[in-house]
Amino acid sequence: MTPLLEIADLHVRIGSSHILQGIGFAVPATGVTAVLGRNGAGKTTTLKAVLGIVPKTGSVRLDGEEIGALPTHAIVRRGLGYAPEDRGIFAGLTVTENLRLAERGRGPHRYDLVYEMFPELKQRGAQRAGTLSGGQQQMVAIGRTLLNDNRMLLVDEPTKGLAPKIVTEVADVLERAAREVPILLVEQNLALVRRIADHVVVIEQGTVVHTGEAASLLSDPDLTRELLGVA
């Protein structure tokens, strides 16, 4: 099967630091691909580089098309949904406005799906997003990616700082979404990775040190410890 996203020789330099040093991996067209790695390894920067949010060199191909030189908005319009690490919520806008802003093209926009997964977002439609809890903000962030008919979702640490009950809720949603659209997921919660990820990419100091099946990495405690510093 040809991969959906192919990244090759990706370099990111910000100021004098060489943050990504030739990242390369492929994301299959189905399932969840988890990007793992210690704090500061370059996971977030990798997603940002794919989206053209940080300046980079190297190649990014989506379904065979080179998108590396396009501006961010054009890359996203190729069919990418992004839920960033800081959630990227517009605090002064209402929940409904946050969702409306994310509508791309003519649609149809899948509000039925979003409100079914996150009924709270419908109830709180008129509330300013800045006054939502962290979990609710994450729902807005993920909801925005589900609104459009995306070819792939890029989701950065969606469960960071959330209460266990909400972590489960978010995991359920991602698992369900992944049946329709492949997800590139940055996640530190290994239990969650074990549950929903099919493939893994491990990044260390701006390079890829491991790729493979999620199950085979996580069932090998020695390798997991070596790569991630945890068991």
Binding site: P71, H73, L93, L101
Partner: protein
């Protein structure tokens, strides 16, 4: 009492001019991070466009103002697309270009129309007065205030009810995230310049009515006060600009009448300092 009424309405009229200039400055800064000193040029184009179409084309007042506003809007769009767009993220160059444009604009206007003030076309009714609570108030104050209210409402409707308005409000908060939703935020930059240019050009025309004449340097002091209004109101907030414009206009009028001319300007600067100490982000900005 009659003094108070006259001062209040004159202060509000002046505040109306400040608001018309400041609203665009504030949106442009809030969305695009551009300190647009070329705003004075848009103002001058509006004023001279109105004057020129009235004296040379024989336009009646309202069409002449519309001509000036269109000329100011076109100028703003050209300035944004040709000069500022290539320099986004290069703050110092931007400031140099916009300041240079402002100076060059004044010099060009001077070369074309002379340095002396030119008598500005005014409709009959704007030169009359109205008695309110014993005060004899020049009618142009009502024109200024009315125009600013209409523009305020129009900008609010645009910001709250249209998709582009939604993009502008979101972009003021987090421009990168707007582009990460697949939106070309540069289009909104151009639009904000167009809106700012139109409002500033209208201010230019109305300043001509208020002062009775137009001269190349007229926009400069208005622009300085408008920048103060933007900072007091909070960068990026149109409502903040409106409130600050009223405050500045009133403070300036009352203090220069009851203290001395010149104290008005000083007290505006004092107001600026007080607001910034209490709320560094301005009235509508995030409280620090």
């Amino acid at each position: 009492m009659s003094n108070i009424v006259l001062l209040a309405l004159t202060g509000l009229g002046l505040g109306a001019l400040y608001f018309l200039i400041a609203s665009g400055l504030s949106l442009i800064f809030g969305l695009a991070d551009v300190l647009n000193f070329a705003h004075g040029l848009f103002l001058a184009v509006g004023a001279y466009g109105t004057w020129w179409s009235s004296t040379h084309l024989g336009f009646p007042f309202v069409p002449a103002v519309m001509f000036g506003v269109v000329a100011g809007t076109v100028t703003a769009v050209l300035v944004e697309t040709l000069l500022i767009r290539p320099l986004y993220r290069r703050t110092i160059e931007q400031v140099l270009v916009t300041v240079g444009l402002s100076l060059a604009g004044v010099a060009l206007l001077q070369a074309a129309f002379g340095a002396d003030p030119l008598t500005f076309p005014r409709p009959e009714w704007a030169t009359g007065t109205t008695r309110i609570l014993g005060a004899i108030v020049p009618n142009d104050r009502f024109l200024l205030i009315g125009a600013a209210v209409v523009v305020l409402v129009a900008i609010q409707v645009f910001l709250r009810r249209t998709r582009f308005g939604l993009i502008v409000r979101a972009g003021v908060e987090d421009r990168t995230m707007v582009t990460a939703l697949g939106i070309n935020v540069r289009t909104a930059f151009t639009l904000v310049f167009a809106i700012g240019g139109a409002a500033a050009a209208l201010a230019g025309a109305l300043a001509g009515v208020y002062f009775g004449n137009v001269s190349p340097g007229q926009g400069t002091s208005l622009l300085i006060f408008a920048f103060i209004v933007v900072v007091i109101g909070g960068m990026g907030s149109v409502t903040g600009s409106a409130i600050a414009a009223v405050l500045v206009g009133l403070v300036q009028q009352f203090t220069s009448f009851y203290a001395a001319a010149g104290v008005g300007e000083a007290s505006v600067v004092l107001l600026l300092a007080v607001v910034l100490l209490a709320r560094p982000g301005g009235l509508a900005g995030r409280a620090a």
